[in-house]
């Protein structure tokens, strides 16, 4: 089974199997790979399968994420690669796998060029993506990812910062909430943030949230620096380019 092995000075500390779920790396204890070291950001990087390969992505960490010797923002991983974060190494071990587990049912078909075909824009894009996936890893050809951040200014929440990496982010006391509100008066589902093609939208649930002091009237697109109020919790939405 494919796995990540956390090492410090060549001695293995922890092993984490790679499944279809993204694995998070950081200093906060709720990471899949938690590294208790000040050089490591709370949510430093994550590793996930994409297009039949394994990808590591730096989450705008302070001290950066390296693959072997190169600093990366996003890079494909191969068997034996070392993700270097501070003084810790996380070694990728996929040698015993025929393929990544999630690929069990996937058929990888190379673009056919010997046949006459009509290309629509979607097919062209897919062919480009396949070509990229098949090519060499290139740290310079990375795509800069913009994952916005919610930073809590005041109020009772389980964390001080939240990365909005999901399509749906629920704010509330409920188990399914990403932004977990504390306090027994807090609603189970207070508000929601939906990722759409053109940005992130704040919407109501059991409460009507405010943006910059104004109660929202239907789902509203968030801009960098917006102040969000949900009950007594105040947060800023940060989305820097």
């Amino acid at each position: 089974m494919a796995r990540l092995v956390l090492k410090f000075q060549e001695s293995p500390l922890k092993e984490v199997p790679i499944g279809s779920r993204p694995l998070s790396i950081g200093r906060a204890p709720d990471n899949d790979i938690a590294i208790d070291n000040l050089a490591v950001s709370n949510y430093h990087a994550r590793v996930y399968p994409e297009a039949g390969r394994l990808v590591v992505e730096d989450l705008n960490s302070l001290n950066g994420t390296f693959v072997n010797e190169l600093r990366i923002e996003r890079a494909a991983l191969r068997d034996g690669d070392a993700i270097v974060i501070g003084k810790h190494h996380i070694v990728v071990d996929t040698a015993h796998d025929a393929a990544l587990p999630l690929d069990a049912g996937r058929k990888v078909s190379a673009p056919k060029v010997d046949e006459t075909m009509v290309l629509d824009t979607k097919e062209r894009r897919q062919m480009l993506e396949q070509a990229l996936a098949a090519g060499e890893r290139s740290p310079l050809a990375h795509t800069r990812v913009r994952v916005p951040l919610l930073s809590v200014l005041s109020g009772k929440t389980d964390r001080k910062e939240y990365l909005l990496s999901n399509k749906l982010t629920v704010i509330g006391k409920s188990q399914m909430a990403t932004v977990r509100l504390r306090g027994w008066l807090a609603p189970q589902v207070a508000a929601q943030i939906n990722k759409r093609k053109d940005g992130y939208y704040l919407g109501r649930a059991d409460r009507v949230p405010k943006i910059n002091g104004q109660p929202i009237d239907g789902p509203t697109r968030l801009n960098d620096g917006d102040l969000i109020e949900v009950g007594r919790v105040r947060m800023t939405f940060l989305c820097h380019d």
Binding site: G52, P101, L102, K107, S109, L168, M176, W184, G203
Partner: protein, 282 residues
Amino acid sequence: MRLDIGARTDIGRVRNNNEDSYRLLPDLNLFILSDGMGGEAHGEVASALAVESVAAHCLEAANNFSAPFFGEPKADLSEKTNRLASAVHLANRKIHEAAGSNAAHRGMGATVLAAWLDGQKLSLAHVGDSRAYLLRAGALEQLTVDHSLVAEQLRQGLITPQEAESSKMQSVLTRALGAQEEVEADTDEHLLLEGDTLLLCSDGLTRMVTDPEIASTLLTHLAAQAAADRLVALANEYGGEDNTTVVVLRIGIRPDVWFNRLRRWSRNLGGQLEEESLRGGH
């Protein structure tokens, strides 16, 4: 989460057979609808294959975490949404294979629309022109985008909504199950609130009945089954040119959830009072 579920499928007033299929799995909170195409080439075979493949794949995944995955999972989607997309990819492959291996089935295809609820979280996956609507606070919102030529022309501003309505190209889909070896499924996630109504329907409904009429029917027929029956009846009253299938889901929080909240609240209140009386005593 309490659900009131209503569903109905009908052959309509013009067609000789019903090529729509639906499948409800209330234990899993999974609801699937498909509109088959291909006429003589057995559209009903394709739509049945679509709903059964999606249902079987999700059932397997619910019992076995490491069930094979079809297509590429997306990092920003929940496990359930990724699993729905996987099910749609599998259904496409099955229909494509069936169409290729049996001469009688050549050219068959289907739309698919699947909704999976995880508490208040809704996962949606679809291919084709079957639609999901959300009725919230009296306003009807279409959650899905039609994969049809007309809808695409409309989005690009090439035709007006009036031209779209009278277009002869309405049955031309830009995406369908079975047409190609691989298909891209549209996926989405929403948070459902108490009092919401979710409607899944085939184009037999939306070609005959306008959105405002759909909204008013859902608002005036409280029981989900009554609303489903009335929507199908309306489609038939207006001509019933195609098969019509509707699934109506009314969202409500179970009474025991309220009871637990009340109990927790009174316990908290009791604890605070006790604390205060202790403090007062010293």
